[in-house]
């Protein structure tokens, strides 16, 4: 329909209200942000410079600190935001809506950071490094979601798979060491993936219910064990932690080095898995078949593709990815398991998948945004801003809501997502 509307251009433009409405809304939001930045950040600032540290003093190629005059920056940011907002109401504003919004939000966040740091100093590199670390479980959860939803299995159970991975990682890690724990976490994640596949593919249990069942089961079992058994046998919950591995040469680069190349195997693993998954889904025969199963299982079936087997394999692998991500909570950070320690990050992973439009890289990018919100709230708590820390702790969840609400209508899930396939 959209393609064939040229003969009635005038009419079409008049009726093209949705896009115009969206452009206007974006404009309003940008102008509100501009006002916020001008009043709160620029007037409210204590003045002085915001100092962002980029390197530690003993780094081989230390980059100088980034010094930003707080007041001036806020005014410039407000002006740019106002300009971008006003542009949305002019002719052609429709064209750049997405980009303006993205840039505007970035600018607003930057202005916020400058305001919070004004008169103090703050390690930007440290925050970015934490961003990447905190994005890992979300990215892996999102990736697990991508892998299973691409074959049309909605995977609410990611939360449970993460938790199971965290628990198993700690338990087996305490007994057999880090790599043993990691392998066990992956295996248990895969097991739950297989169970989910069995429930929804073979027994056609409603996919949401099956996922919730797994989540509750894992939560129940791990909470029981950690509160009852671990109290007595503490050595079972004392696993080694994977230390950061420095990549020679690259890790010495300023900013980029510490952020990307002085991390532990979970970070590297997440990046590698995202690349492999992208190659698999979009450049291989099996990936094409998997996507076909997610879009139109009946068509795949008539072409001799085994729909059930494809779903089993992909969901199981998704479980293994989530299990690996789960191990991050224990083997990748604190070395011990706490009740319910995944704290809903599995669900945020699902949000990352949606925001990332069911693409592994998209999910990773979205996860980095969530990770950024998370690490920012942590660092800001140290800066003693007037904003209460409880409020700051909401940042990742608020970011989720904003991103999902803003994008969800436009993203298109696999056509058969959530539906069982019944072979005739």
């Amino acid at each position: 329909m959209a393609k064939t509307m040229n003969p009635i251009d005038a009419q079409a433009r008049k009726l093209d209200t949705a896009k115009v409405r969206q452009a206007r809304n974006t404009g309003v939001i940008l102008i509100c942000l501009s006002v916020l930045v001008a009043y709160v950040f620029a007037f409210g600032t204590s003045g002085g410079d915001a100092v962002f540290r980029l390197s530690r003093p003993n780094d081989p190629w230390a980059a100088p600190n980034l010094v930003v005059p707080a007041m001036a920056f806020s005014y410039i940011a407000a002006a740019v935001l106002a300009f971008l907002g006003a542009r949305q109401f002019m002719r052609g504003g429709v064209k750049w809506t997405g980009l303006s919004m993205g840039f505007g939000l970035l600018l607003a966040v930057a202005a916020f950071l400058v305001w919070a740091t004004a008169g103090k100093s703050f390690s930007l590199t440290g925050m970015l490094q934490a961003t990447v670390v905190r994005a890992v479980p979300i990215a892996l959860g999102g990736l697990a979601g991508v892998l299973s939803e691409r074959v049309a299995v909605v995977n609410i159970a990611i939360e449970g798979m993460l938790l199971a991975g965290a628990f198993t990682g700690a338990l087996v890690g305490s007994l057999l060491g880090g790599f043993g724990g990691l392998a066990a976490a992956v295996a248990v994640g895969g097991l739950f993936g297989f169970i989910l596949a069995a429930l929804v593919v073979t027994y056609r249990v409603d996919q949401i219910i099956a996922g919730v069942v797994i989540n509750l089961f894992v939560l129940g079992v791990t909470s029981y064990v950690s509160s009852q058994v671990y109290q007595e046998f503490r050595f079972l919950n004392n696993a080694p932690v994977f230390r950061p591995v420095r990549i020679p040469f690259l890790s010495d680069l300023p900013v980029i080095g510490p952020v990307f190349f002085q991390q532990n195997i979970f970070v590297y693993g997440a990046f590698i898995m995202v690349c492999v998954a992208t190659y698999y889904l979009f450049y291989t025969r099996s990936g094409l078949r998997a996507r076909a199963v997610g879009e139109h299982p009946q068509a795949a079936d008539t072409l001799g593709i085994n729909v059930y087997r494809t779903r089993y394999i992909n969901v199981t692998v998704a479980g293994m990815v989530a299990g690996f991500g789960g191990a991050w909570f224990t083997l990748g950070s604190v070395g011990r398991f706490d009740e319910g320690m995944t704290n809903g990050l599995g669900y945020i992973g699902l949000a990352a998948m949606i925001v990332g439009r069911w693409h592994p890289f998209g999910a990773l990018m979205a996860a980095l945004v969530f990770g950024f919100a998370d690490s920012m709230q942590q660092k800001l708590a140290l800066l003693q801003t007037p904003i209460p820390s409880e409020f700051l702790a909401m940042a990742p969840y608020i970011a989720t809501i904003i991103l999902v609400a803003g994008l969800v209508g436009r993203a298109r899930p696999p056509a058969a997502d959530g539906q069982a396939y019944i072979k005739e």
């Binding site: 064939t4 009419q11 093209d16 450049y283 291989t284 094409l288 879009e295 072409l303 001799g304 593709i305």
Partner: protein, 503 residues
């Protein structure tokens, strides 16, 4: 290559879909397989394409028995099927759809799309099909999508190509082009099976005709000598009349008055684009058009199922543009919806329950918000008998009725009360000839009693048979209007208008 189906029997539970069927398919020949919906044509071909396994009988290729365990086996034996509902993935490109299942690959499972594109272009050239391998399926018109299905089959080097109701979704012009393609395929030595229930098509294209009724082959025909009437009789099992009798055209006052009606789809695309139309009492206005040109949205807007973006709808002088569905219903507007399974009935409810879906709240059936079921049962039984709904009891689940009887039940519910206007969408889609005749007579009956009727159909024959006036919808607008009472309708002209070719 010669394929022989020998004594094929296929049962689904109690139902015998194919009963001892024998059929031979030969290279360089078009075999027309004629039968009503539910006669077992598709089942038979699904057996041949490996989707079903026959309970009895065997398939022989060049005299040797074969055993298909799945579609893969049938494909590698050289049998390709173009399904009635296309098996294409809308978000994939043409090339991706073509290669799916038999992909050219490089190292580490790498998908060689470059090679795929080349191969698609080769097939394009060889058979004169012009399809861009890089276009997404969802951007292609239905006629081209069908070519993609053909390329898919050819890509798997099929020698036998089965077309299941291939013309159902095509415009008359696309049908002509399609027949050219089929003939050129035949001339290159492919064996073609052409499944349809349309008599004139089967005579046009076939070299040999087999007629299937209730799962059995009931006759064979030579297209040179057989007539439509003979074939129809074989297909239905009794003489069929093609003409519908109706009273002379005597329109009275304007009942439905649509002005500048604009309706948007969910994604804000324009579905109905400023339509003006008047329907008088005592006339039938047929809305012709290829599916997806805004007809469904028009019906939804008129029945209050979707929001109107612009313009007005007046009924009997009252503005009902934003009236609720129930308000419209109470004004005497009856609605036979497009998809009876999804919108017309609740399959798990009994026939009696379905019959009062629209009137259960009425004083006739409820008192103090309690439904008087005995009364409802009695009424349902009477109405069902009136409308020839064949059932064992009104307590049966509606989903157990045959398609024709389900539709008759919907028609019965809608027309058995006091009505002034009937809105019908694809009222006979997928029904057998007997039910079609019956439902047509009911629609005409409503008109003869002074109701206004607006109906949508993508079957040109139906439009021609029923309408006093015809409007053609294309891309959300009315592009042509024909008055059957002044000039006889011309199929070709309407067909051209349906394809958007208007002078």
């Amino acid at each position: 290559m010669e394929v022989e189906l020998r004594n094929i029997t296929k049962r689904f539970g109690e139902v015998v879909a194919n009963d001892d069927v024998n059929l031979t398919i030969r290279a360089g020949e078009v075999l027309g397989l004629l039968g009503e919906n539910g006669a077992g044509k598709s089942t038979l071909m699904n057996v041949l394409s490996g989707l079903y396994t026959a309970d009895e009988g065997e398939i022989l290729i060049n005299g040797k028995p074969v055993d298909f365990k799945g579609p893969g086996d049938s494909i590698s034996a050289g049998i390709g099927m173009v399904h009635q509902h296309f098996m294409l993935i809308p978000v994939f490109t043409v090339a991706e759809n073509v290669i799916l299942g038999v992909e050219p690959t490089g190292k580490i499972d790498y998908l060689d799309l470059k090679k795929a594109r080349l191969q698609v272009r080769e097939i394009n050239q060889k058979y004169g099909l012009e399809v861009d391998p890089d276009e997404l399926i969802e951007n292609l018109p239905v006629g081209i999508q069908q070519r993609v299905e053909i390329i898919k089959v050819l890509f798997r080097s099929a020698d036998v190509i089965i077309f299941d109701e291939p013309t159902a979704v095509l415009t008359p012009q696309e049908v002509t082009e399609f027949f050219e393609i089929v003939k050129s395929l035949r001339d290159t030595g492919k064996a073609i099976v052409f499944i349809t229930h349309k008599l004139h098509e089967i005579l046009d294209i076939s070299d040999r005709i087999s007629v299937l009724r209730r799962g059995q082959i009931v006759g064979e025909g030579d297209p040179q000598t057989t007539t439509q009437t003979e074939l129809a009789e074989m297909m239905v099992g009794r003489p069929v009349s093609f003409n519908v009798d109706k009273e002379p055209y005597a329109p009275a006052d304007v009942l439905l008055d649509i002005e500048d009606l604009t309706v948007l789809r969910e994604n804000d695309d324009v579905a109905v684009d400023g339509i003006n139309l008047k329907v008088h009492s005592g006339e039938i206005v047929g809305v012709a058009g290829v599916q997806g040109n805004g007809q469904s949205s028009l019906i939804e807007a008129l029945t209050g199922l979707t929001r109107v973006a612009g313009g007005t709808v007046k009924f009997n002088g009252q503005n009902i543009t934003h009236a609720s569905t129930r308000a419209r219903h109470r004004m005497g507007i009856a609605h036979i919806p497009e998809d009876r399974q999804r919108m017309g009935m609740i399959a798990d409810f009994s026939i009696a329950e379905n019959m009062v879906l629209d009137t259960y709240y009425d004083d006739r059936f409820s008192k103090h918000r309690v439904i008087n079921w005995p009364k409802a049962y009695k009424n349902s039984a009477r109405v069902a008998a009136d409308y020839d709904v064949r059932m064992t009891s009104v307590h049966d689940a509606a989903g157990n009725l045959s398609g024709g009887n389900q539709q008759k039940m919907v028609v019965a519910r809608e027309l058995s009360r006091e009505t002034m206007f009937l809105i019908a969408a694809q009222p006979t889609r997928g029904l057998d000839v007997g039910s079609i005749e019956y439902i047509h007579s009911r629609i005409i009956n409503a008109r003869d009693e002074g109701d206004g009727v607006l109906f949508v159909s993508s079957e040109l024959d139906e439009i021609m048979a029923l309408s006093d006036r015809v409007v053609v919808m294309f891309e959300g607008r009315i592009v042509a209007e024909f008055d059957a009472t002044t000039h006889p309708l011309d199929k070709n002209t309407i067909g051209l208008a349906m394809a958007g070719a208007v002078a």
